[in-house]
Amino acid sequence: MKILCFAHLSEQIGSPSLELELGPMTVASFVEEFKSRYPNARLDQVMIAVNEQFVEEDHLIGANDTVALLPPVSGG
């Protein structure tokens, strides 16, 4: 599974993108797994897209999917 970490997440994780041996798993269980691997990552309210589609918590992420973690952004 490929993970893209946007904005502050790339600093918190140490890299803008990761390859993890994960899946298939739901978005909700992915978030739990990710939090336990990267306790510094602030995932509250982060929007999650799988293969460039926003998905619900029960969506099943495949092992070869790309997951984008997108913090909300407000500056302007």
């Binding site: 803008p16 602030r42 309210q45 589609q53 926003f54 984008a68 909300p72 952004v73 407000s74 500056g75």
Partner: protein, 343 residues
């Protein structure tokens, strides 16, 4: 004026002579004359949009000049209101257009009054916090006017078009108003991130206004110029909920109703301001505190409130959205301080 002025744009086939005429007949509302508002206003003024109404509550500061392209040193030196400085620069760029500039902290009543008085074709987001974007979202869907969200922070930016009757709304994308989000004040910002967002917003504006509406980009577009990543994300149509208070079957437009207006009250004889922000749900105090700590502020918290100290200012934040800002008696300054830590 020279007939040649818009020739290069008219030669672009999708616009042509008829699209150019449509641009001339258009009226765009730009909320916020900071970095994004500067960028989109300049592009649309050069493109020959007939009328622009621009709103901003702030004045030009030296720290703006690095990226807010309508302003120059003299504006910062004179501390001119951004709306005033923007209008004067836009007039220099295109003297044929109408520019209405409003120096104001745009609340629900202001926004409704503007949309009732003018026939606005499109709203562009040049704001810097989420509370006002939920307000714009409600106003846009109530008046059935499309609006183009744009935001940036660091090297990161995002754009999304919200079109009443066609796309889901901001509420559907972000069901809860984010308590914290990436902004420019504390996280910093590089000008190319601004220009990228403003360019994408302006392109959407040109499409909509010139009659190329089927070309609108309805994806959530997001990029990071530093880590070289880009995503164009589809919004799940099913995500549109019939129960959405803004774009659902029986909308209540919660952020437009006066009960949810931001209230500010200066405490008599003290340099403190009470603020009450509209929130549809309890504020995540823990997330705000974590975020403030990351930004090197001095933070104290308990389950009921969070205190954030920065220099002479101290923000005390309660879960129901109330906040007390110590260190100022100016409601506007208090709001700006609040919005550095809570979006």
């Amino acid at each position: 004026m020279s007939q040649d002025r818009y020739s290069r744009q008219q030669n672009f086939a999708p616009i042509g002579v008829s699209g150019q005429q449509k641009l001339k007949d258009s009226h765009v509302l730009i909320v916020g004359a900071g970095a994004l508002g500067s960028g989109t206003a300049e592009t649309l003024a050069r493109a020959g949009v007939g009328a622009i109404t621009i709103i901003d509550r702030d004045y030009v500061e030296w720290s703006n000049l690095q990226r807010q392209s309508l302003y120059a040193e003299q504006d910062a030196f004179e501390q001119l209101p951004k709306a005033v400085a923007a209008a004067s620069r836009l007039k220099q760029i295109n003297s044929e257009m109408t520019i209405n500039a409003h120096v104001m902290d745009c609340n629900a009543a202001d926004l409704v009054s503007l949309l009732e008085r003018h026939s606005i074709d499109l709203i562009l987001d040049g704001t810097d916090h989420f509370a006002i974007r939920y307000l714009i979202n409600d106003a846009a869907y109530r008046f059935r006017i499309p609006w183009i969200y744009g935001a940036c922070s660091g090297s990161y930016g995002a754009v999304c078009s919200f079109i009443p009757g066609q796309t889901t709304c901001l509420h559907c994308l972000l069901k809860k108003m984010p308590a914290v989000s990436a902004s420019c004040d504390l996280e910093g910002i590089i000008a190319p991130a601004v220009q990228m967002v403003a360019a994408m917003q302006s392109a959407e504006a040109l499409k909509w206004l010139s009659g190329n509406r089927t070309q609108m980009n309805v994806n959530y577009t997001v990029f990071d110029l530093w880590s070289n990543m880009h995503q164009s994300i589809g919004l799940n149509r099913r995500a549109r909920q019939e129960a959405c208070p803004t774009c659902g079957g029986q909308p209540s437009y919660p952020y437009l109703n006066s009960e949810s207006a931001v209230k500010a009250e200066t405490l008599c004889g003290r340099t403190s301001v009470w603020l009450r922000y509209p929130r549809q749900e309890a504020l995540n105090l823990e997330a705000v505190a974590d975020h403030a700590r990351e930004l090197q502020a001095e933070v104290k918290s308990n389950p009921y409130l969070v205190q954030i100290q920065e220099g002479d200012f101290r923000l005390v934040l309660f879960q129901d959205g109330r906040a007390l800002v110590h260190g100022t008696s100016d409601p506007l300054e208090a709001k700006k301080f609040y919005q550095r830590y809570v979006s």
